[in-house]
């Protein structure tokens, strides 16, 4: 088997089993909460639905759902194999380890994309029901979808990497999402650039004053720079994940 021929096989198998898993079902339900909120706003006050859509997208999707989903899907790529002691079946197959992790990463990424993308689309439809004929509305959806794609790529690559070398990676990941990302993004100057959310927010059509914390505000970076940083960081995290996974020995149980 050629070096990367196993990727589609691993991808297809784990996408299928991931799609049917309880965890995916739970996250699909969670991702429908913003949709529900959008429909409620639509019914109660349809004139502010568009504005509310942007705020929901930022606070619920980009600051909560996307990093949390990426955390749970990313860290479990390796950790679940260790907890269930199944890694041995993949690593005693004539398949390079990089194909194992890339195949599983792609399966997790597509699942995330489907969960988030479908929630986005439904929320958008609820918010923009009366302006579906306007190009601007679709443009806005395109920006949100594109940004969510980059956000999912970067966060899931980061948490995949974390899962390759840390058994309790979920705890560290939660600290990163709710500690580092939530606080440092509001620091002044270049400090906020050390968060992923800074680069994500820089791509969103949200006024700089919105979403502020204390006296500090988002100081957006240029669009192209943000796209480049998110792509570069994502690929770097993924490369690191592959690098570690290829070299690390995983001890599955008490050794006899």
């Amino acid at each position: 088997m050629k070096k990367y021929n196993a990727i589609p096989i691993i991808f297809a198998s784990f996408f299928k089993s991931g799609f049917k898993s309880m965890r995916t079902r739970v996250f699909i339900l969670l991702s429908l909460i913003p949709v529900l909120l959008m429909f409620i706003v639509r019914i109660v006050d349809s004139s502010n639905a568009g504005d509310f859509f942007s705020k929901v997208m930022l606070s619920l999707y980009f600051q909560l759902l996307i990093p949390v989903l990426a955390l749970f899907f990313g860290t479990t790529i390796v950790n679940e194999e260790l907890d269930n002691k199944t890694l041995v079946y993949l690593t005693t197959s004539p398949v390079p380890r990089q194909a194992v992790i890339l195949g599983k990463y792609l399966a997790a990424f597509l699942l995330l994309l489907l969960i988030v993308g479908s929630g986005f689309l439904l929320s958008f439809l609820a918010a923009a029901l009366n302006r579906l004929g306007q190009a601007a509305a679709w443009e806005e959806l395109g920006v949100f979808l594109g940004t969510s794609l980059l956000a999912l790529f970067c966060y899931s690559a980061l948490f995949t990497m974390l899962g390759t070398f840390m058994k309790k990676s979920i705890l560290i990941g939660l600290f990163f999402v709710f500690g580092w990302e939530s606080v440092v993004q509001y620091f002044p100057g270049v400090t906020q650039k050390f968060t992923i959310i800074h680069w994500i927010k820089s791509l969103l059509p949200i006024p700089p004053g919105e979403g502020g914390f204390l006296i500090f505000q988002l100081q957006p970076s240029p669009t192209m720079e943000s796209v480049a940083v998110l792509l570069l960081a994502g690929f770097l995290f993924l490369f690191m994940a592959v690098f570690i996974f290829q070299r690390k020995e995983y001890i599955l149980s008490d050794n006899a």
Binding site: T92, S93, L252, A256
Partner: protein, 308 residues
């Protein structure tokens, strides 16, 4: 002998815990049994051989190549791990087919090989059930199917008979012997001597991470037979029985239990002692309620051999 597996000064430890230490070993075609009590280092050795762990010191080569990170070598190796693990949400068929596909077979030959492996372990009829609905023994057989589906030249089985019912034990032992007849190499670990005895004469005794003895099983049997055994006998009149046994040449010592309901005899010739005891029971009509041998196990043999 052409060595299929060669370990040189192989050592592995986990923090302060020793896995294996300074193992030098060559294994050639045929069946080799790794025998040792729980925690002896058998699984650590097999995990290094299966590329799951890296040696701390020394090397282990299979077909002349290092194993860790050498994925292509697994075209020639089958490994059945000790733990009860599988992708529980998948069906048995999905699991085996996935592994067959990962071995590089296209869909049709992969399906044919998967079916053949499932037939071999008697799981074809249950192939569409989720693995989580399988019994422990069925999962063990599924793992065995996973290790043989690509018909490897070297098959490594870590405690393969654990949890298997007696009928399937016999069939699996036959399967392993069949592999030997085909000129393949099988390494099988167990902590149960009769299991290994049923498969092969060639054994490697592992204890506390070291190779304790290697060779023909009859030699080991001899050591076991001459190992001082304790035999506990429950009877209504232990003093009378002790009086008749004390002059027996195979009896080393006799201890009475605290309740006065029995005695423990230490003998260095277990079989001869039992013959003498049976004669007493039959000829002198001695009443005996229960006979047990508290150290008739592998750990006791090892303790004896290492002089504990």
């Amino acid at each position: 002998m052409t060595a299929v597996l060669r370990a040189e000064k192989l050592s592995k430890w986990y923090g302060n815990i020793l896995g294996i230490s300074d193992i030098n070993l060559e294994i050639g075609p045929g069946i080799t049994g790794l025998l040792g009590p729980n925690g002896a280092g058998k699984s650590t050795f097999l995990k290094i051989a299966a590329g799951q762990l890296k040696p701390k010191i020394g090397s282990l080569q299979i077909f002349g190549e290092n194993v860790f990170g050498n994925h292509l070598l697994f075209k020639r190796i089958g490994f059945c791990p000790e733990h009860d693990s599988a992708y529980m949400e998948m069906s048995g068929w999905q699991f085996i087919l996935l592994l067959a596909r990962l071995h590089g077979f296209a869909q049709t030959p992969a399906a044919a090989l998967s079916e053949k492996a499932l037939v071999t372990v008697g799981l074809l009829e249950s192939k569409d059930r989720a693995i989580k609905a399988y019994s422990f023994g069925m999962r063990q057989r599924l793992r065995l199917a996973a290790s043989i589906l690509h018909e490897p030249e070297l098959l490594m089985l870590d405690e393969p008979l654990r949890g298997i019912d007696p009928l399937w034990r016999i069939k699996i032992i036959q399967l392993i012997k069949e592999y030997e007849k085909q000129g393949r190499t099988v390494i099988v670990s167990s902590h149960i001597l009769p299991e290994i005895e049923a498969m092969t004469n060639e054994i490697v005794l592992i204890h506390q991470g070291k190779i304790f003895a290697k060779g023909d099983i009859q030699r080991i049997r001899g050591l076991i037979d001459s190992h001082p055994h304790q035999v506990s006998i429950h009877c209504p009149d232990p003093r009378q029985l002790a009086a008749k046994l004390i002059n027996n040449e195979y009896v080393l010592s006799i201890d009475f239990d605290a309740q006065g309901r029995g005695l423990t005899v230490k003998t260095n010739q277990r079989d001869h002692f039992f013959s003498a005891l049976m004669r007493l029971i039959v000829e002198d009509k001695m009443t005996v309620e229960e006979i047990t041998s508290p150290d008739d196990n592998l750990q006791a043999v090892f303790d004896y051999l290492i002089g504990k």
